[in-house]
Assembly symmetry: C2
Homo-oligomer: 488 residues x 2
């Protein structure tokens, strides 16, 4: 249970300090997209941001946007794509149980959404980073996110759809700089250091919010609607315990303000939630190492094709394989990897033979030997009958060998810090229509209340890949902003 009071307050008991048409709560990617569209549609827009500057978790992210269907970048890199291929891939990769209705709209509208980013000044370099990775160490504008790996390459035409604003490594900063500027230019005004705490209601309709600014209470009236884009709840330990305990104790991919306040304010009013247990959880193994060697579990056994986008096996690994996990590589593979692609990590375990390595890692005797023997036997023929790793990455492994603990990976190494080798954020949230209207428990939209981004449940089922949270947050954030502006 979470214990701060989020009960709605009545309009008749509220003295409003400010008034606008559309009030957006939270200036991350979804909030900026909603604010821009609302303002562009002629609404008088106010944005409340609890931090001293805009951007939220989005500004600290890698900035990937999952887009496709035939964007300018895809074409320039020589790829044909279609909304149907994009849909088929995402239905599998974000599944099982992805949201088919939202996903269909998302894929059909993706080229337009890409052009919207370009028109807001977000730069995309027309070049491909062509290797498995969490995030390129280059400024390439396009990357693979599992589309060319088994089984996804059997489900849809393999086309890369990871679009990245032009920046080395973390590109969320440049993305948010452009979106915030666009919203401001369209006329949206942001009040910073202002934390929304309660919705204001008038006869079943949401008409504003009460907020805290330092020691002060400030009330906002919204004539047309309130759009909640306040992020997820990975920073709220009580909510994690109640709804997504798998994330307890792991790194938090967040700017520290994902406290679930948007979800809680609406739930107190009887709003429905959806998929509150769905999470992104990343095992911070280094894909450059893993794809050239193998990833094994605590019994020395492979469990995935190591060339697939790491987001696609992380969830399964962290929740359900017996840990710990080890990335195993030989000297030949290690020497192939670009220094920048090692993210500063050095193997702590090295050995001439697999028997020595098993002992050093505490694996059952003979387990790693059996795994590598089978792997090598098929790799010589360019085959992987168990997991179908692409022949490009298949080569018999020969000593000397090294093992890397994902807990020494790039998250564990400093950026986030819990040191478990895994980190993530929440995907569940308010149950919304495709126009961002928040539904009550009986399935009816609550008048005047909208949500987008991780305050809402989006396109995801049990799966996640990079770029789909910024992607659906901005896409449905735009729709919510437009719908709120048009609300009579």
């Amino acid at each position: 249970m979470a214990t701060s009071s989020v009960e709605p307050v009545g309009a008749s008991e509220t003295a409003f300090d400010h008034e606008c048409d559309v009030l957006v709560v939270g200036a991350g990617a979804a909030g900026a997209a909603a604010a821009y569209e609302s303002a562009a549609a002629g609404a008088d827009v106010l944005v409340l941001e609890r931090s001293s500057g805009p951007g939220g978790t989005s500004a600290q992210s890698g900035g990937e946007l999952y887009l496709g269907g035939g964007t300018r970048v895809q074409k320039a890199c020589g790829f044909d794509d279609s909304p149907d291929d994009m849909y088929a891939f995402l239905l599998a990769a974000l599944g099982p149980h992805a949201d088919a209705e939202k996903l269909r709209l998302y894929c059909d509208g993706s080229v337009e959404h890409f052009e919207w980013f370009r028109a807001r000044g977000v730069p995309f370099k027309e070049s491909l980073f062509d290797a498995p990775g969490w995030m390129p160490y280059t400024d390439d504008g396009l990357m693979w996110l599992g589309e060319n790996a088994w089984p996804y390459n059997t489900i849809a035409r393999p086309v890369p759809r990871g679009h990245r604003p032009e920046a080395p490594m973390f590109a969320g900063g440049i993305l948010m700089e452009k979106l915030i500027a666009a919203a401001a230019e369209a006329g949206a005004v942001t009040h910073e250091d202002t934390y929304a705490t309660n919705l204001v209601v008038d006869g079943g309709r949401v008409v504003g919010v009460v907020a805290r600014r330092f020691a002060e209470t400030v009330a906002y009236r919204a004539r047309k609607g309130v759009v909640l884009t306040a992020g997820g709840f990975v920073d709220n330990e009580e909510m994690l315990a109640d709804h997504a305990p798998v994330l307890l104790g792991h790194d938090k991919i967040s700017d520290g303000t994902s406290d679930g306040s948007g979800i809680r304010m609406a739930s107190a009013l009887g709003a429905a939630t959806r998929r509150m247990g769905s999470v992104e959880i990343a095992l911070t193994a280094n894909p450059a190492v893993v794809c050239r060697g193998m990833l094994v579990d605590g019994l020395g056994r492979r469990f995935i094709n190591e060339d697939v986008y790491p987001g696609l096996y992380s969830h399964r690994a962290v929740q359900h394989q017996p840990g710990p996990y080890w990335a195993i590589i030989d000297e030949t593979g290690h020497d192939e990897i670009a220094e920048a692609d090692m993210w500063g990590v050095r193997p702590k375990h090295a050995a001439e033979t697999l028997a020595e390595l098993e002992e050093s890692l505490g694996l059952p005797p003979g387990s790693l030997e059996a795994t590598v023997e089978t792997y090598n036997r098929f790799a010589e023929r360019g085959e992987d009958p168990y997991f179908h790793k692409d022949p490009r990455w298949l080569r018999p492994l020969k000593g000397p060998f090294a093992a890397i603990d994902p807990a020494d990976g790039f998250f564990g190494a400093g950026r986030h810090g819990a040191g478990t080798g895994a980190g993530g954020f929440t995907l569940g949230g308010l149950d919304t229509t495709v126009d961002g209207e928040v539904r009550d428990v009986s399935g009816r939209p609550i008048p005047g209340l909208y949500a987008a981004g991780r305050t809402a449940a989006g396109i995801h089922g049990e799966g996640y890949i990079s770029g789909t949270s910024l992607g659906d947050g901005t896409f449905f954030g735009r729709r919510a902003g437009r719908a709120a502006a048009q609300n009579p």
Copy 2:
């Protein structure tokens, strides 16, 4: 989204037809326990049951009750137990993330709770069924539920705690017959064919319910409190899609009335929920077969110690191993199994060699051979370094071999019917205090509102074993009934 209207109605708009102190919604195990205790404490108790007879899903269940700490049955069978051992086992078996606060009370009060069942006339035979199984085919009163298998035997003293009312196979009928009779004898009156649809509120306090009886609307006033014991939501496809999609398409372990109405009525009032994605999901492999042979995944690989209680590997298997699954056994093992313990299932695949069996099952060539070779090599020494199966069940397997598809198991064979080889029910529900008070989203008890059984979140984390749902439903149902009776 679920779409029938469950919004609360105001007391001033309600013409009450009936009045009582404590109104219990649902006459399953939790409801009967709550009604008994409320009535025994002197309250005037009404029970609403939507079906034409009481008992609910509980009456159709196996009737197992997870009890221990030194019960009369345990002592008669020669076992010493303690609340601390019981707690340590359940914390692991129902975890990760079991509810430590509720679990501690549950274990400390377990001997008293067992005696409460006996005093209500529930019979327990003082004998042990000493083999892995979902449910004994005998009328033995005690069974193992994983306590003597790895890793649980390393966590707590291995003591059997599966208590069963005296009946062959499904013992839920006799259990519910006794509890319903006890509640009636204590003075609780049941209205059948009466389906509660909305809570009635008066200034933030729950004061009754509106119900439907055939074409009629009937309103009930509850002076002290309403106790929601209306079951979970496995029969509500929209709620499953929103909260526990892993169960979609599988068999439903339910009497068909687990539509989540109790959870929805309270949520519409701003009640908090907890762990809505937690489920019991049983892979209906036959434990008598599995423990004498092996259970393999779609890559021909073992993934558990096959002598553990099947509830303890089912969840992991159904959600995260590559299916299908196969129970593999040799002729020697098959001939050992009592006819009644085969549950009417015959192997559909048989072969002299493992290579033939691999082909017939569509497993990668050599995969099953490798698994059996490793298994046999260690089994000859009475060892299982991978999964620690007890030596009692370790024996090298020799042809001829047979394979059984769990979809041909006893659920698929008729009782439930979706035929996927898996079935289950929901564990998540309303967020309650240890006295059954329902909390709102801000963590405060909602005056006059209580819940227990699968309408509430109980002692479970991500794990489940038999007897813990009837167990915590009755234990916390009793506490909720007492608390409601004492409510001023």
